[in-house]
Amino acid sequence: MGILSHQQGYIQIKMEFIMYHIPDEPSPGTLQQWVVNPIWPLVSYIIIGPLMAFLWLLFNAGAMGVLNRKQAINLGGLSFLLLIVAIVLTIAVSCVFGFANYETFSGLIMDAGGVAVAYFLYKIQMPYFRVYSSMDYPVWNGMVLMGAAFLLRPLLILAQMFFLYIIL
């Protein structure tokens, strides 16, 4: 599609192409410069904790254009629901095995549930990330944020606990 425009006495022809969109391609928006390889938010689950990992994974998916805001909120809601289910399950299991083992089983259920949710969020964006990185879009080095987060780890863990305390 050609668009004619007069500029400084010359006729400039701008060619603007409507690019066909392949269904497996992400559509990154203005936040694309903050996109990282999803492995970093996933690793942050181990190093920092679940809350940072979930938020970072959701943000990354949104920045890459894999999820729109509504889908990200829905997924966030679903993750929260899973957290509640995990807590209820923990209490039920503790009732069966006795409250002496409460910490052991609650830890196992929360960790397994958290890891499953994080891996699910990672898995849905990974195929898009492969296409994204092959299309020469900017990819930020997530190790920088990971390093900073590692140094501020005690503060972040406190913030996470405070957040969970407010919610629950």
Partner: protein
């Protein structure tokens, strides 16, 4: 369209994709545009996108073989062999003289473990398209696997005469030399292949076998790293996460006992992390520097 076909023939699939996207932006119902885009996406290992494009091609002309061919290719990549087989049969019915159709059918037979049928189909594909080096290399692979060394040698020589830098041809010649006990020649072919693509799985496996014959420890190190490359990032991440959950659970149990035990568990977990993430990265760096040295020697 001619430019796209040239790029496709030269193996520049990403560039071909970009041109096709421009073309389809102007004419979204371009039958050959969708067909070629689907083939390009298959070559780029984007099978889900390739399938979507193949389905559009079929919608545009349900009776033409092209759409079914593209769909079968994409389904083969997605490991849905039954569905792929149905489309491949249709293509063979509609275009029995098409070498690519026999090649596709052969790859499907190979994927389902029918080696005899696969070899027959590869031979037919080569007869119909004798200049297609990929068909020849697939035929040589199956001849090597079934122990037919002499026919395999002839096929590989045909490939290397036509294109001395053909990476699969070099790897196959290396395998044949290794089979016949000529370690030095096998190693030369493996290095030549790795210099072109240091992540080529066939070349890495060949090198692992060569190293294993000279030094079992080095062979194990190579084999381990090849396995990790084959696993890919997703499976490695899953292994680490599962180990993390197990380690945390074990520590919770151990805390009722001794601290030494929990220390050992964390030590084990960090060991798994090292093997899963750091060891392949270290291997990658060492391999690249070795290959650079070998490239310098050649200069």
């Amino acid at each position: 369209m001619k430019d796209v076909e040239d790029l496709f023939d030269k193996g520049q699939y990403s560039k071909a994709c970009s041109l096709l996207k421009e073309l389809l932006g102007q004419d979204p119902n371009h039958f050959f545009g969708h067909f070629l885009l689907s083939l390009c996406l298959c070559k780029l290992q984007r099978f889900w996108g390739a399938r979507q494009e193949a389905q559009i091609t079929i919608e545009l002309d349900p009776k033409a073989w092209q759409g079914h061919f593209a769909e079968a290719q994409a389904l083969l990549g997605l490991e849905r062999y039954q569905q792929a087989h149905r489309h491949a049969e249709y293509v063979l019915e509609m275009a029995p003289d098409l070498g690519s159709a026999h090649h596709l059918s052969a790859k499907l037979s190979l994927a389902t473990g029918d080696f005899a049928r696969a070899e027959e189909s590869f031979k037919q594909a080569v007869q119909l398209s004798p200049r297609e080096l990929d068909f020849l290399s697939d035929l040589a692979k199956i001849q090597l696997v079934s122990g037919k060394k002499e026919p395999a040698r002839q096929t590989i020589e045909k490939i290397l005469n036509a294109a001395p830098e053909h990476i699969d041809g070099q790897v196959l010649m290396g395998c044949l030399n290794l089979d016949e006990g000529r370690l030095q020649e096998a190693s030369d072919y493996a290095i030549r292949a790795l210099l072109q693509d240091h992540e080529h799985l066939g070349a890495r496996r060949l090198m692992a076998e060569i190293k294993a014959q000279t030094n079992p420890l080095l062979g194990t190190w190579w084999k381990f790293n090849d396995k990790m490359l084959e696993f890919g990032q997703d499976k490695t991440a899953l292994i680490v996460l599962v180990s993390y959950v197990i380690a945390r659970f074990a520590i919770n149990l151990a805390n009722q006992g001794s601290n030494t035990l929990s220390f050992c568990i964390w030590f084990g977990f960090y060991g798994i992390c090292f093997l899963a993430w750091l060891a392949p990265a270290l291997f990658h760096v060492i391999l690249k520097s070795e290959l650079d040295k070998s490239r310098m020697k050649d200069l």
